[in-house]
Point group: C2
Chain length 199, copies 2
Amino acid sequence: MSPAAPATAFDTRTRILNLAEELLLARGFNAFSYQHIAKDLGVKPAAIHYHYPSKEELGAAIVQRQLRRLRKWRDLPRVTELTPPQQLEALLDVYRHRAAHGPQVCLFGALAADFLTLPAVMQQELRTFSGELTHWLAGVLAAGRTDGSLQFAGHPFSKAAQVLTTLAGSLQVARVHGEEQFHYILRQLRTELLPPAQA
Amino acid sequence: MSPAAPATAFDTRTRILNLAEELLLARGFNAFSYQHIAKDLGVKPAAIHYHYPSKEELGAAIVQRQLRRLRKWRDLPRVTELTPPQQLEALLDVYRHRAAHGPQVCLFGALAADFLTLPAVMQQELRTFSGELTHWLAGVLAAGRTDGSLQFAGHPFSKAAQVLTTLAGSLQVARVHGEEQFHYILRQLRTELLPPAQA
DNA sequence: AAGGATACTTACTTAGTAGTAAGTAAGCAA
DNA sequence: TTGCTTACTTACTACTAAGTAAGTATCCTT
């Protein structure tokens, strides 16, 4: 919490967080260890403990950063100024990127399966993350239906929950059955949400 | 492999498998151990090894049994004789049961997150399981659209993949956000698949 | 030059993991 | 009753996990 942390400290801290996030999304919270991170980083496991004393704090830091990123991204002018279909497409791109970039699932998909074994702090933060994402998408969907650029039945919140659930699941499917299956599911989602003219 | 295995042996074997499956669906493959099973069963961990020498064999046995159950259920007269919407409803009931019965996810949802850390045998068996289930549902959807009892856009196989992905994800959502969210998603699914008259 | 903070390493503890080897009690079959 | 099989227990190996305490090299500040 010093006014300006030394560059090396910051670098290692960030690199730990990056690697931990990568391992978390690839293997799940219970299947990655300080040893994995240390080996990849070329340091000793105790060095990780120096930056993140416990795995709980490390895991919480991953979720917190994703939440910060979500808020920042969501509020970016180049995102807020898009039309609802474009905002939806921007969201889909995030998942497309994960599907293409090794078999990574999304944060929710990675943590939900292990949810009951997670520290309470992480459980709560994941709820917040998922809740805010759903809330944002519900707003996008509602606006899109109002201006006729998106179509769907039911409440925007229910539809947002369904779409995000499908997206989370689709990355798990990509891992098991390959990327092709993932794109089938995404095409299906787009077909249904976009009116005949745009689809 | 004797003609008639002693009753006690069979019982313990089955009880191990039942408990292991329960633990797997609740905590994931990497977060349950022979100790958990042994403790719940009132025996020593080595007794589990006697029946299932390795965790890989135990895990494979769980997937194999689910696959046997799926095939048996799918071919049951009381299932094959249902109309497509009734068959869909029967499928949804399986997920509703899991959602209500503690926070259990489905087999796919439990294993997909840990997929990269699973023994190759289990990976292959999960692919078979998921593939057969998708194939079955695609048939149901195709029949339903033909006779007008179900509605959806796109190929039946893509739609089946999407629906099953949503269902797998919805159980993970139930675990994180509670059962209510799960029912929102299911209602959304039903609304979209059933024509206005039946919905 | 001295002191202190930073960013580690070395060496350790504790606990949990899968898995194994040897022993044993109970039942059954010849 | 002898001997084999089943279904375990006891006691262990080997390994990995998270976490800690103490020591150290490097840098920055004064």
